[in-house]
């Protein structure tokens, strides 16, 4: 066994790290925190200019042919830097799906706009009554000549207020089983009848509800077959970002270690010298290491040509659950000062642990809840009978 990364991966990682050190400024991080929008146009366009939105694609399609190991290093470094790169993931996902399932026109006109960093996307999957059961989608698309008329409502369309396109899952057929009556569109956000309403979250992130009223969408914005939307969704769901949460866990622990090393208790002793503090920091360190290993295992399997479906799910489940346990432990060890928010005088670790404690709650919800993850592992990984 060899746990070291190949030289080309380490070289690429070093290049990414240098780039991020220059461009992910304190101002960029503060602005994301203040606005709750974890997308920064300036940074996004610089990342796009490096060709990293499609770094994993083959060169003939405008990518850099980066291996899954290099892609994991890229993603890991981005999140270790604290860069607000929610948009990078969504843009890459939509562009990649269009590359695989889109029309020539979409590949010629929409994909280049996304890859250049000029256009942002958002995902229109979830609905008020279709969360984990995303195929219960009720937003209707009805054909009218060369157009479709869309009516409905989407939840958690994060970045909709910045996006140029929404990747929209719709119901086009009521007479077939629910998975077989779905159709995907990539709809320009400036189409008449789309309304964006902000939703503010516990984590401080802004997301949105988007409403669609008599939205007329030309057929050329349809992605994949009519009633073939589920297959398009599945293409897009291969969306690995385990290293995102690992990076956040590392930042969380770094804040706690730095704070405990500097702080003193009432008797003048360093907080990090308290045995119970040391135990909690050590425990969080182990969780970080395991998260890292599970993420890299999935990346390594992908680099060997195996689809790490169960292993990627395990990495997601473990890392996000660990993230919440660690945030819970680490805000505790700050004592009452852990309650102060970022920007407040006397806030432990400048309030970043408090912010992480709120933010991490969403990580076991989006991208497949922990319950959905466990079901996948039990059925596909362990071969247990389908749960009822």
């Amino acid at each position: 066994m060899d746990f070291s990364l190949p030289a080309e991966v380490e070289d690429f990682r070093a290049e990414v790290r240098t780039f991020l050190a220059e461009h992910v400024t304190a101002e960029v991080i503060e602005r994301a925190h203040a606005t709750g929008t974890f997308h920064d146009w300036g940074l996004h366009r610089k990342i796009a200019a490096k060709g990293w939105l499609a770094a994993g694609w083959p060169e003939e399609y405008g990518g850099q042919g980066r291996s899954p190991l290099e892609m994991n290093a890229l993603s890991e470094e981005m999140y270790l830097s604290g860069a607000p790169v929610d948009g990078v993931g969504v843009a890459g996902l939509v562009a990649h799906t269009l590359l695989l399932a889109g029309t020539d026109w979409q590949k010629r006109t929409i994909v280049p706009r996304i890859l250049s960093g000029d256009a942002m996307c958002c995902l229109g999957y979830s609905e008020p009554d279709a969360g984990s059961d995303v195929a219960a989608c009720a937003t209707r698309a009805v054909r009218d000549g060369d157009e479709w008329v869309v009516d409905g409502q989407k939840m958690f369309t994060t970045l909709a207020h910045e996006a140029h396109y929404v990747f929209l899952l719709t119901r086009t057929n009521l007479d077939v089983p629910k998975h077989k009556g779905l159709t995907m569109f990539v709809v320009p956000m400036d189409t008449a009848g789309i309304e964006v309403t902000p939703v503010h979250t516990v984590g401080g992130e802004r997301t949105n509800i988007t409403f669609y009223t008599d939205v007329r969408v030309e057929d050329r914005y349809r992605v994949g077959e009519v009633d073939g939307g589920w297959a398009v969704m599945m293409t897009a769901l291969v969306f690995e970002r385990n290293s995102a949460w690992y990076g956040e866990c590392v930042r969380l622990l770094d804040h706690a270690v730095a704070w405990a090393g500097e702080g003193r208790d009432d008797r003048g002793r360093r907080i990090i010298d308290d045995p119970s503090v040391r135990e909690r920091l050590a425990r969080a360190s182990i969780g970080n290491e395991v998260s890292n290993l599970l993420g890299w295992k999935a990346a390594w399997m992908a680099s060997e040509g195996t689809l790490p479906g169960v292993e990627g799910t395990m990495a997601k489940l473990f890392t996000t659950e660990h993230y919440q346990r660690a945030a819970d432990d680490l805000i505790d060890l700050c004592g009452p000062e852990g309650l102060r928010r970022h920007g407040e005088d006397g806030a432990a670790a400048d309030g970043w642990i408090e912010a992480a404690y709120r933010h991490c709650q969403v990580t076991t919800i989006y991208g497949g809840t922990s319950e959905i993850c466990r079901g996948i592992i039990a059925e596909r990984g362990l071969g247990l009978p389908r749960a009822r």
């Binding site: 060899d2 360093r270 395990m314 489940l317 247990l384 009822r388």
Partner: protein, 344 residues
Amino acid sequence: MDLRRTEVQEAVRDGVGRFLAKASSPERVRAAEPLGWDRAVWDGLAAMAVPAMGVSSELGGQGAVLADLAVVAGEAGAHLAPAPVVEAMVAARLLAGHPDVGGEWLGHLVDGTGPVTIALRPPREGRLTLVPGGAVADAVVALDGDELVIVAAATDADRVAPANLASAPLADIDLGQGAWDRRIVLAVGGRANRAMAAALDEWRSLTAAWLVGLARAAFGIGVRYVKDRHQFGVPIGSFQAVQHRLADLATTLDGAELLADKAVWALDQGDEASSLPAMALSFCGETAQHVTSAALHLHGGYGFMEEYDIQLYFRRAKAARLVLGDPRRELRHLADRLFGPVEG
């Protein structure tokens, strides 16, 4: 990056695994209780040159790296082998670091004559307590004050092997009294301390691998049971309450395996300051305990019966880590590695 085992490791796994499947079957493991010792298992492993496998060929070993030894440890854990395999492998490597004075006892392990073990904790008031393998070892390596020593008994007298949770061959040994009067100093001062610290990290890593092997086997028993066992007219493995518990454990088990593998890899790379052995022992110990506990409880009342095999795993999983000390102390040891010592 390559997470595959080498061909040699696959061959070792196959050879040791096949032997132990027969020689260390649940029936044999039960028969070896309460002492936790089966001479035939030791002899068979010795015939495969396991005890001194990690020693250079010039000194009579196979020149195997720790990653190879971890494969043996994993199989020993999976089959609950009633012999102090990990301790003997660690002792052999420790003795190989002092061949001029430790050569005789190294030869003992090369020949497979009988186990030599390692005391994880220094003696207190001349007494070593709960030495793993101590009940059946012909000699024990220990850090006695500033001296790294190997002590041996001429007879089986003067050691107490208490009945214990794991039915493991643990023993209390009074040094320098009665039969334990043969004492050789291997090293003194900084050399002695460094040698013992390195041996303990090898023990942590290989014990982590042993625990992963044990936990994988216990997990397999648990998963098979919930597929077979029917209640309310369906397999109990179809209930989400059962599935989700097993899915979490499958996940931590994968993580534990990776961590144990990375710990031996780090030591094989010569990273003596690595915090990975301590991480691996903590996490693999906790995981093995959770896995065996869940597998036992998923058996319902049957899991509480001695007749079912799962209890054999459950009892041993808890003890392997506890024999070193309170697991929370081990976390503080890890903290020393990660964050430096406590001030003042």
